[in-house]
Structures are given as structure tokens and as C-alpha cells.
């Protein structure tokens, strides 16, 4: 995927070019769906999030600015926020239910190879070198939050660590990442 090509398609989309929008979808939907599937875990919910994201991309294409980052990461932001919103909304609804019949994410990861599962099927990039410098559980906590959309509380349950530790590890880990990347 070439950034220049994708940017051109996005600009044409902003002008209301439906064919360009279709090409943009063809080039990027696989990535957005991979992100969404990791967070939502269910295909139908992941598809809903991707669908909502592309509707928003169509309407907001003209608002993209280079200072917001590469087009693809901007688009991934949109689908991730949508997934986070759906997860929060489902969790809020679940609090009002008594029979627990909300079936969203939340099942524990396979604890035998948790990081392997998180990192299966992706390429190593620069940020991975910085992630490698973090303590194992610190790195794992950030990855669970990013790839699975887990809250602090859910990361606690997953890693069997105290809430305070998870919060401070994630916070310090992000600060360390920033230093490493600068």
C-alpha cells in the first residue's frame, strides 16, 4: 500500500468520487478489519465497526490533514475509536442486565501463548524495538489494551496483577515508548 496512492484516493473521496472511495476501501479494509476483529472478536461486530468507520471516512475525508499522520493510521484511529465506543457501550449495557446475555469480548486469552497470539500475523516495525525494551508484562499490558481494547481492569484480570500496578506500568511504559521513539 503506497501512502501517495492512498492519499490521492482519500482526496478524491473528499470530492465525492465514489469510485475512488471503493478503491480506498479495497486497499485498506483488510487492515481496518484486522484491527477491528482483534478488538471485537466477533465477525459480525467487527464488520459493523468497519462499516461505521468507512461511513465516517466518507463524510470526513475532507478533514484529513497531513499533521494527523499517515492516511492509514488516521483511518485505523477511526475504526479503533469506533470499536472502543462499541465495547464501552456493550459493557455499560451489561451492567444493567441480570442474565449476562451480552456476548462481547472479555473471554480470557489463551494464557499459554498470550503474546504469541497478540503478535501472530503481523510484521515487526520500529515501535516493536521500543516495546522490546519494556518489561515483559508491561509490554503485554500495552498490547492487550491496544490490540484487544482491554480496560485496566480487564488487563488486571488477564495478567493476574493488581490494578495499581497495571495502571502505572501502562503509563510508564507509554512514557518510555515515547522516549525511545524520539
Amino acid at each position: 500500500m503506497n501512502e501517495t496512492d492512498v492519499l490521492k484516493l482519500l482526496m478524491q473521496t473528499a470530492e465525492g468520487n465514489a469510485q475512488a472511495f471503493r478503491q480506498l476501501y479495497d486497499q485498506t479494509s483488510g487492515k481496518l478489519y484486522a484491527v477491528s476483529l482483534g478488538m471485537m472478536k466477533r465477525r459480525d461486530l467487527a464488520e459493523d465497526a468497519v462499516q461505521d468507520a468507512f461511513v465516517r471516512i466518507w463524510h470526513n475525508a475532507g478533514e484529513y490533514r497531513a499533521e494527523k499522520g499517515a492516511v492509514l493510521t488516521w483511518m485505523i484511529s477511526i475504526v479503533r475509536y469506533r470499536c472502543l465506543d462499541l465495547l464501552r457501550s456493550a459493557k455499560a449495557r451489561r451492567e444493567h442486565l441480570t442474565d449476562g446475555d451480552v456476548d462481547l469480548a472479555g473471554e480470557p486469552e489463551d494464557t499459554d501463548t498470550p503474546e504469541g497470539a497478540l503478535n501472530a500475523g503481523r510484521d515487526r516495525i520500529r515501535i516493536d524495538e521500543c516495546l522490546d525494551e519494556l518489561e515483559d508484562q508491561q509490554r503485554h499490558a500495552i498490547q492487550l489494551a491496544y490490540f484487544r481494547g482491554m480496560t485496566h481492569q480487564e488487563v488486571c484480570g488477564q495478567l493476574d496483577l493488581p490494578l495499581g500496578s497495571v495502571k502505572s506500568w501502562i503509563r510508564r511504559g507509554l512514557q518510555q515508548l515515547k522516549r525511545c521513539l524520539e
Partner: protein, 239 residues
Amino acid sequence: MTQQLSDRKLDTLAAEYVLGTLEDDTRLKLQRLMVTSDRARKAVWHWEQTLNALGASLNDVQPSSRVWRRIEARLGLGETEVVEAGVDEPHQNVTPLRTSRIRQGWVWPAIAAALVLVMISWNGWQTTSSAPAQVAVIQDASAQALWSVNLTEDGLLVTSTRQVTASSERDYELWLVAADGRAPVSLGLLPESGQRLLPRNALFDAVDVEVLAVSREPEGGSPTGQPTEVLYTAQLVGL
């Protein structure tokens, strides 16, 4: 949360905002700060770029072809306006909306959760004579819908939900936050029950709308002409 936040603190908040781990209250405070603070927006953009490189490194997984068909139908782009029936088509009852290109504010992350479902469920939504052009759903910290705002040529039709708590001591006021950086412009007081039609401000046709904002005000509305305490923001979207 004020402008006095140190760069380091703001940066950490932005990072956790993008990661998705901020507590609801803090997340909403940062969203409100982003309405007025260029520094906050840039911090968030920086972390979106940084962390979403992780998402970009995932191998593609192709979604089902029905995803594109639904997008096409929702936007009225293709010739497949009528989607197939079935229990896996939850959005098929949405009234097709006018598909004019509408410029909006920057992508606001936490808007309109379950927007489509809310649209389907609210009484009266589909009984209006003309299709709505743009809508916003204003939500609380737990993503529960409080008001829907439906911008039509006649005005802003605001519908409150049962989540809104009525009080005789304060009012909720709706504001237009323009993308050009001008001060927020009042659109009127929000109903605490039922519906209210607010006048359509001429600015809707003259500026790009960044977001709509809701403030808590003394009874009767803002005494200063500017929002006293911004509680929520929501993006106006065309579907």
C-alpha cells in the same frame, strides 16, 4: 483539566486516550479540552500516529463482501439501495438519508456510540416527513445516549431520552463549535424531556462545524454568552 497541564502530563493522557484505557471522566475531560486546545489535539494526533502503527502492522484480513454492500447502501452510492433481509442485517431499517457531502469537524472519537441503533429505536424518528440531513447523539460518560439532535432545514429537532435528569436549578445549553476557531455560538436550551425544535442558526450554512457541545448553565442559560461548564461534545454526522 486546565491549560496548566504540563506537557508531560498532557502527553501521558493523550497516550492513554488513544490506547483506550482512560477512565470515563478523564476521557471526557480530555475530549472537552480538545475543543479549545490545539496542544491537546496535537498530542492526541501524535499518539494516534505512534500507536496505530501497531494496527497498521497487522496482516490484512478481508471482511465479507456484505460490508461494502452495506456501506454502499447506507451512503446511497451504488445501485444496491435495498439490502437483503435477514437477522444479520441490523441496519436495514434505517431511513435512507440525503447523501450530500457534508464537511465536518475533525474526527471525533467517542461520538454516537450505537448511533444507528438509537436512531432506529427512538419514536418518531422515521415518521418525520423529510429525511434528516445530519444528526448527532450526545452521550454521557458511559456512552448512554442523552439527546439526539437532528439538523433539518426547519431547525434542530432535539429529542431527550430518559437518561436526562430534569432539574429546576440548571439548564443544559447546546453550542455550535465552528472549525474556524471562533467562540462557541449558542443554539438554545435543550429539553429535559420530550422534544424541542430549536431555530436553525445561519452559521450551519456558513462554517464547518467542528462539534456540537453541551454545557451546564444556571436556569435560563449562560449568563455570559459563552459555555459555563462544557459537559459533552458530539459530532454532527451525515449518514
